[in-house]
């Protein structure tokens, strides 16, 4: 297909599907010039594909950076060190795949001029996309509750149990609000605490002594870090599981934690999933707008373009899921 003008006998359009029939050479006598666009697709679809090719490069840059950062790092946290749940990630993958199917069915329904059916499929897509975002929000909340943020001052992550970590724990324990809460905890009679809390209180008292002690050893700080938030080991079942640390038992404590490689992990995780979530949210907005129209054959082009975008968002997640959750 090129930009040159072809000379085509009039009436060509009507006989196109039957091939070139007799009137090709027939006696109409005059020719009209017909111009063909460089790419044989509608403007909207062309623009969507151009946009998607920029999006390919956008996410390739992000994913590429993630991969080189991850494999160039001396230590990278295991998914359980950063409280990632593989089943939740797999569930979200399933949700997005389902939504890809529903949008493609919406397009097929619109092409067959079944407006109501198209609307229902699109509504299903909107709901599945919202479910995805809801699950993502739940995951983010779980990270935040463990002090995993992309940056200070909210982030509690330290790279190693060194002197700086010890100083940060002392600083936190020295905050007036925490001193009051600790005093309150110390004064609580043993029978008012659950056995778990009583054990955690004894351990907390010991690590308070350990961080303040003048003859502190490097190993002591590793013990402190392990008590505050243990790094779940690969247990017998192969999954580790969520070991409870002092930060979990006393949610107000929020002591600094040690996750080797955790800061870079948090930066890349929130950047990648955050940009992906923004794309999902934009897709949902487009679906919400499309739902206000009558989705018959005339709108099939719009639905197709929205669908192309949505499949791309699904595509990005297809790579994000194994890279973030299973690597």
């Amino acid at each position: 297909m090129n930009l040159s003008a072809h000379s085509i006998p009039q009436g060509h359009d009507h006989h196109d599907s039957h091939g070139h029939s007799d009137d090709h050479g027939g006696g109409h006598g005059h020719l009209t010039l017909q111009y063909q666009p460089g790419l044989p697709l509608s403007k909207g679809k062309l623009i969507m594909w151009l946009f998607l090719s920029t999006e390919i490069m956008f996410f390739a840059a992000l994913l590429g950076s993630y991969v080189v950062l991850r494999f160039g790092a001396p230590v990278w946290p295991k998914p359980h060190h950063v409280h990632l749940s593989e089943p939740i990630g797999a569930f979200n993958t399933f949700v997005l795949i389902c939504s890809s199917v529903t949008i493609v069915l919406a397009l097929e329904a619109a092409r067959a001029n079944k407006a109501l059916q198209a609307k229902n499929w699109m509504l299903a897509t909107l709901l599945l996309g919202s479910l995805f975002l809801g699950v993502k929000g739940y995951e983010y909340a779980a990270k935040f509750s463990h002090g995993i943020y992309p940056a200070q001052p909210h982030s509690l992550i330290y790279e190693k149990p060194d002197l700086y970590y010890g100083a940060a724990v002392r600083a936190r324990l020295g905050e007036p609000a925490i001193i009051d809460r600790l005093k309150e905890l110390d004064d609580t009679p043993e029978d008012k605490l659950s056995s778990e809390e009583a054990s955690a209180r004894r351990r907390l008292q010991k690590i308070r002594q350990m961080v303040m002690s003048p003859d502190q050893q490097p190993f002591d700080l590793a013990v402190v870090a392990d008590q505050v938030m243990p790094l779940p080991s690969e247990g017998a079942d192969g999954h580790g599981g969520h070991a409870e640390g002092l930060n979990d038992t006393f949610s107000w404590l929020r002591l600094p934690t040690v996750i080797p490689g955790g800061n870079m992990w948090a930066s890349t995780y929130f950047l990648l999933t955050g940009f992906h979530a923004i794309h999902v949210a934009v897709g949902l907005l487009v679906f919400a707008i499309l739902l206000t129209f009558r989705l018959d054959r005339k709108r099939a082009g719009m639905i197709e373009n929205a669908g192309l975008y949505w499949h791309f968002v699904d595509l990005v997640w297809i790579f994000l899921f194994p890279l973030l959750y299973l690597f």
Partner: protein, 164 residues
């Protein structure tokens, strides 16, 4: 896909190069297209394949995965699975399988740029820890820190079983 078909797929083209508004023949053709590709059965087959592939990559996480001590096997496997899934979505859901040759114009340069982009990060970012200053070496996390944390978890220095 031939030029002839490309032309037919979009109905008459006007002098200005615009696609003409849908005419009767255009709608007829669209309907034909609807029959010729896609279709519920095919979409459901692709959906089933995608679910099966997701389960396959999730399988690397299960204790039954035989190469748990060789992470590279799992990584290669998962990337192969992901590429297959991406292919299925692009070819069937994005209808690229049935598109004309313009698909190569838009996707191949973007894909090449994407690959080069990632490769160009390798020297400065990927190999950033080959040579580091002493100060940085002192403060960055090392595998030994993970070992230290693990030993601390097993040691039970506090004389009390924590919730491990």
């Amino acid at each position: 896909m031939s030029d002839h078909h490309d032309h037919a797929a979009h109905g008459p083209i006007t002098r200005t190069g615009e696609l003409s508004p849908p005419s009767h023949s255009h709608e007829d053709h669209d309907h034909g297209q609807h029959e010729s590709h896609g279709g519920l059965g095919q979409y459901l087959a692709v959906f089933a394949a995608l679910c099966a592939l997701t389960t396959m990559s999730f399988f690397t996480y299960s204790p039954l995965w035989p190469w748990r001590d060789q992470p590279h096997v799992g990584w290669a496997f998962m990337m192969a699975v992901s590429c297959t899934k991406a292919m299925l979505v692009v070819l069937f859901f994005m209808h690229v399988l049935w598109e004309a040759n313009w698909k190569y114009v838009l996707t191949i340069p973007a894909a090449m740029m994407a690959i080069f982009l990632a490769l160009m990060l390798v020297p400065d970012v990927g190999l950033r820890n080959r040579m580091v200053s002493q100060e940085r070496a002192l403060h960055m996390a090392r595998p030994s820190d993970v070992k230290l944390m693990e030993r601390a978890g097993e040691a039970q220095v506090l004389g009390e079983a924590s919730a491990h």
